[in-house]
Amino acid sequence: MQEDYINITLADDDEDDRLFFTDAFDEIKITTRVKTFNDGVYLMDYLNSKDATLPNVLFLDLNMPRKSGLECLKEIKQNPKFKDIAIAIYSTSASEEDIENTFVQGANIYIKKPSDFKTLKKVLSEVVTINWQYHTNSMNKDNFLLRF
Amino acid sequence: MKYFKNRKITVLFIFIVIMIGISFNSCDELIKSKKLENKKSELKTQAINENKNEAKLLLMLSKDNQEVINLTKALQEVINKDSIVDLAKKIEETHVQFAEDLQEVATDKLISIPNYPEAPLNKSIVNLTEEDKFKALNKLKSIIDNQLFILNKLSKTSNSKDFKTLIVKADSKINDSLNKTKNILNVLNTNS
């Protein structure tokens, strides 16, 4: 889809995190359209709806009520309709288990939520500008966890 | 019956039974053999006595026989009547034969009897009176009688086969002689 803006979606149950996210993208000099959802159910409902605009990059929090990020990831990867969506896991924890599971389920990148706003902006801009086609081919576990 | 299950006791029992049996047997044997021994020696002495008796009787018979022969020979010389002489001769012949039979038996039985035919005759009675003739005849008769008596005794006491045959053979003959002698006596008695 060749648009001049990038479609970004975030699913996160934390209000503050959603605020940081949108503020960060506001300040990034990239043209983006950001959508946020409060939990996994809202996200999947939207994605599965008829006239949904599928995002280019989807940021998934892991610890969400009703439907966790991992479950959403599984569902998305099972649906061929969503094959072009690049999925970045956006989580507080950086436990081996979570990294492993999400890597195995086919997430494209794992981001540990930074505690500094400047770092956050840098990370987000990096992520959305990755050429995902190119990136996916050479993906391995070492590159999976984003280092900053 | 529990005891019999135990091998050892069974063996012991059998052993004791066998031992008792053997000891009874051997005692029995010993007693029997002793009896046998006694019987044997008894038989032996009996046989010896029998033999001695036979020998004695046979000797007496033979002596008597010789006397008879002598007497009859002498009588033949002194008697005139031919018929009596004939009788006498017959008697002599019988007794000579008897003497031979006796000798045969004697040799078989290892009894020694005098062999008279070879001994010469005693001629002392040739010249005798009539009375003496009668005496002689009577003597003859008693001797022959005696012979019969001895024969009888012999037949009673002897078990020997030879003797028995002899006795049977002789008995009738000697009886015959006795009769002949009696005849002679009668004839002579009627004559004188």
Binding site: S93 | N51, S112, A119, P120
Partner: protein
């Protein structure tokens, strides 16, 4: 011991039979010898008798001859007496001889010959005696007769002498036999006696020895029995036997005590025993006993009994079969009271379970706490940074200072939480050991510290490591902590140099290792040229939350080295440190080679 005794008995029996046989044989020989002797003497007597009779005949004949001569000389018929009686005497002798020689045909023939000669002689006597009254001794017939008579006499004498000689030879032969038999008999008797005596003595000896041995064994057995009884009481065991053929049990004294009863207080049957067994276990036990009777063995079985006073005891029983002297199979069994063990085991299990639960709770608490604490902290930090970005110019100097201080505190808290998280991760129960490429782990650790390493231009040299079986992420953490420390506590002005070496060492050669569990260890040393430390603190630095500097000099939580120690302990290894102030420090890690 029993075996040698029974061998002895059969040996004794064999000797008895052999000796009895020998004695019987010798006895039989002796008996035969005695009968032989009797027979021999009888034969001798017999021969003597024959000789005597023959001599008698000769003598009678001589008497007759002498008598005849006397008569010829004196003409007195008195002298004829021996001749007259001679014949009958000779006949008598022959009568005896006849019976004596009944079975000897040769002798009989000789006697017949002699008899005929004697007859001839007697006849010669008669002839000469008859012809004598002529009174003429000069008569040639008479002389002829006389001579003839003499010849006959000689012939008779010779014959009789011949017979006598024959008899004498026979006699001699029989005598020699008799002698030898005579010799043998007492010898045999004596040997018989000797045999019996020896046998008796040997038997007595053997029996005496056996009895003594038996006595000694019995005494030992008594002592043994007593000590077994004692040991049964002390170890809370009871023993029992089961005779397969007779279907009988025997119970030892202590087995009754295990049931809470007095020894031998009831008949040892399985029914009586089952009355004490816990109702839940009765069926199973009955089945097991049935099986035991079939298979003649009892594998380990467990069941409970209830004493009369209500106590429940746990018992364990085991039985093994043995074949005894009379070829009977007997099952020897032991029953042990394992109630105490079971109780302590249960208590132990409970405590363990409790501890594990506690541990798990603490662990998860630790983890969750650190994890959940991260969230608000992150928020604080992010908002702070935003605040600084947005409102920096608008705030007063005091305000800025306060914000700065807040940020510091937040950063410190973050460090603490990170370290706590690390600590809790090294606690996790499910640790997976893998054969890992240590070199890769080292590289990964260096990657984790990439920023700091490049910031300080730290130089890290290392040996090549072999593959070791470890928990990979923990070893990686170990490297991170130790290398991080080395760089953190660098000497000002010096470029931090860290050297990591590897060796395989023997446990007994290393003084650092106390009570090693393995014989060989990997020895990994981390040598740095940092500020070092005083050696007296070598043990203290591994204690949780313990620091040698305050937070203003060097940042730190005091958890890092405790984490290292925990990790090394997870691998059953050791970690030691030694330092020289202002020169540097050496950290040594020992990992066992299994």
């Amino acid at each position: 011991m029993i075996k040698t005794l029974s061998n002895n008995i059969s040996f004794l029996r064999t000797t008895l039979y052999i000796s009895a046989f020998v004695i019987l044989v010798v006895g039989a020989l002796t008996y035969r010898s005695i009968t032989e002797v009797t027979k021999s003497s009888e034969l001798i007597t017999h021969t003597y008798k024959v000789n005597v009779e023959l001599e008698q005949i000769l003598s009678n004949l001589k008497d007759a001859e002498t008598g005849q001569r006397g008569y010829i000389i004196t003409k007195d018929s008195v002298f004829l007496e021996p001749y007259i009686s001679g014949r009958s005497k000779i006949n008598n002798s022959f009568a005896e001889l006849k019976v004596l020689t009944k079975d000897d045909t040769i002798l009989k023939e000789s006697l017949i010959k002699v008899n005929s000669l004697i007859n001839k002689r007697l006849l010669a006597f008669q002839t000469s005696y008859r012809s004598l009254p002529k009174g003429d001794i000069e008569d040639p017939n008479f002389i002829e007769n006389f001579r003839n008579g003499r010849a006959l006499m000689d012939s008779i004498r010779d014959n009789i002498k011949g017979i006598i000689k024959l008899q004498n030879n026979l006699l001699k032969q029989r005598r020699s036999e008799y002698e030898s038999d005579l010799m043998a008999t007492p010898l045999l008797l004596f040997s018989l006696l000797l045999c019996s005596l020896i046998l008796m003595y040997v038997a007595y000896n053997s029996i005496y020895k056996n009895i003594k041995r038996l006595k000694a064994t019995n005494e030992e057995l008594e002592i043994f029995k007593e000590s077994t009884n004692q040991s049964e009481i002390v170890s809370k065991h009871g023993s029992w036997t089961y005779n397969v053929k007779r279907d009988e049990f025997t119970y030892s004294d202590n087995l009754y005590r295990l049931l809470g009863e007095q020894p031998q207080s009831f008949k040892p049957t399985i029914e009586n025993f089952l009355t004490y067994v816990h109702p839940d276990d009765v069926e199973k036990l009955t089945m097991q006993v049935e099986q035991m009777k079939e298979n003649i063995e009892l594998p380990y079985i467990y069941y409970r009994v209830v004493h009369k006073n209500g106590n429940i005891k746990h018992l364990k029983a085991y039985g093994k079969s043995v074949v005894n002297e009379d070829d009977e199979t007997v099952l020897l069994g032991t029953t042990a009271d394992i109630t105490d063990e079971i109780i302590s085991f249960r208590i132990l299990e409970e405590r363990n379970a409790e501890l594990e639960r506690n541990n798990k709770e603490l662990s998860s608490f630790n983890y969750v706490a650190s994890h959940d604490l991260q969230e608000p902290l992150r928020k604080i930090q992010t908002f702070l940074s935003r605040l600084i970005d947005e409102e920096e110019g608008k705030l007063s100097a005091k305000g800025n200072k306060y914000i700065d201080r807040i940020q510091n505190a937040a950063t410190r808290m973050r460090l603490l939480i990170d370290d706590l998280l690390q600590f809790s991760r090294s606690n996790k129960a499910d640790k997976v050991f893998e054969e890992s490429n240590i070199n890769l782990l080292l590289e990964a650790a260096k990657q984790d510290l990439a920023e700091v390493i490049s910031a300080e231009n730290a130089v890290i040299t290392s040996d090549t490591f072999p593959t070791i079986t470890v928990i990979p992420f923990q070893i990686q953490q170990l490297f991170v902590n130790l290398i991080g420390n080395a760089i953190k506590y660098r000497m000002e002005g010096k470029i931090p140099k860290i050297n990591i070496t590897h060796q395989i060492v023997e446990a007994e050669n290393e003084d650092n290792i106390i009570k090693p569990k393995y014989s060989h260890y990997h020895k990994i040393t981390f040598t740095d040229n940092g500020i070092g430390f005083d050696n007296q603190y070598a043990d203290q630095i591994f204690v949780l939350f313990s620091r040698l500097h305050n937070k203003d000099q060097y940042s730190g939580t005091g958890i890092g080295l405790s984490i290292c120690k925990k990790i090394v302990e997870n691998h059953k290894g050791y970690i030691t440190a030694s330092g020289q102030p202002e020169k540097g420090a050496v950290f040594t890690v020992y990992l066992p080679i299994a």
